[in-house]
């Protein structure tokens, strides 16, 4: 799959997951790996980092039961807007491809 294309879908996947609930990095990665088994774990973290630096996500440091602190990610207002934009674009792309008879 084309890298740029894939990154876009990865972003959407992560944002959609976080729109439903806040999670820590490893949890998010596990969910994403369900849909993208071939993607490197590390890449998911780089996408998380980018989404956070773009302001679509934010995080707080939380405690865990057995000691080490963890980043808990949550979606921001801008993130929601960005996610909905992306979903609309995908919907229109899909209907175009469908109407061409390709899928």
């Amino acid at each position: 799959m084309d890298a740029q294309f894939k990154k876009g879908v990865l972003e959407m996947c992560i944002l959609y997951t976080l729109a439903k609930d806040e999670m820590y990095g490893y949890e998010i990665m596990r969910i994403v790996k369900n849909y993208f088994p071939d993607v490197y774990d590390g890449t998911i973290y780089t996408v998380l980092r980018r989404l956070a630096s773009d302001g679509y996500l934010d995080f707080y440091i939380g405690e865990t039961s057995d000691g080490p602190k963890r980043k808990y990610y949550f979606i921001t207002e801008n993130g929601n807007i960005y996610l909905n934009d992306n979903i609309e674009q995908w919907k229109s792309l899909c209907s175009i491809v469908q109407s061409m008879g390709i899928i």
Partner: protein
């Protein structure tokens, strides 16, 4: 690969671009990853393999930063405008003619024609000092210099035109000529300096020929390039 090896390798790559502080902050995510993975029961080796190659990950992270993004946008904008200038603008051809124009103007201003009226002035300089009056001998120097400047500026224009036109026509068949004109520029510059020493030398010929060496080298180089370019099948770039 062990966790420690992975983390160290990733840190090293990140540190090429980020500060220690920022690199450590980025690393923390991956420490978290290993912590959680090990809790789940996975081995360090398995986690390292699934995480990806440290070098590639570092490049992804670095490439995501705003500075790199801005640099990419800027450089593509620069490339686009360079492209426009080189391939499409008519004005650039006229611009490239400016050095030639400067050379012509300077030639007239410094009486470049003077030297050609008294061409034998250059050889046997000292005996000529007696033959010609002072005004003439004084004017010969600048006049000769003006001629060399004309050659220098003219050759600059020729070289630049050769490059631009070759790029536009997408052919490098004539680029070997650049060697000749580069040789001319260097030689004429040497001649200019040599002129300054004329008064103290008896025969100018040897001095001038020495100064012209780059020109002869340019011709030889040019011939070599011509042969190299033409023994292969002609090909557009």
């Amino acid at each position: 690969m062990t966790r420690k090896e992975f983390i160290n390798s990733l840190y090293k790559e990140l540190h090429h671009y980020f500060s220690s502080k920022d690199s450590k902050a980025i690393i923390m995510d991956y420490e978290e990853y290993f912590d959680a993975g090990i809790t789940e029961g996975k081995s360090e080796d398995e986690l390292c393999r699934q995480c990806g190659e440290p070098k590639k990950l570092a490049m992804e992270i670095i490439g995501d930063t705003k500075a790199i993004k801005i640099r990419k946008i800027l450089s593509s904008k620069i490339i686009k405008s360079l492209d426009k200038v080189i391939y499409h603008s008519k004005a650039i051809i006229y611009l490239l003619l400016i050095p030639l124009l400067v050379g012509v103007i300077k030639w007239f201003v410094d009486s470049g024609w003077y030297y050609w009226k008294y061409p034998d002035m250059l050889w046997n300089f000292e005996s000529n000092l007696v033959k010609y009056n002072n005004i003439i001998t004084e004017k010969i120097g600048p006049s000769l210099a003006a001629n060399t400047w004309f050659m220098i500026f003219g050759s600059t224009t020729v070289i630049m035109l050769l490059i631009v036109l070759s790029l536009r026509q997408k052919t490098y068949r004539y680029l070997y000529l650049i060697a000749i004109f580069a040789g001319i520029i260097i030689s004429m510059n040497n001649v200019r300096y040599a002129l300054g020493q004329l008064a103290s030398k008896e025969r100018a010929l040897g001095l001038i020929l020495n100064a012209m060496k780059p020109f002869f080298i340019g011709i030889i180089l040019s011939a070599i390039l011509f042969i190299i370019i033409n023994i292969r099948k002609p090909r557009v770039i």
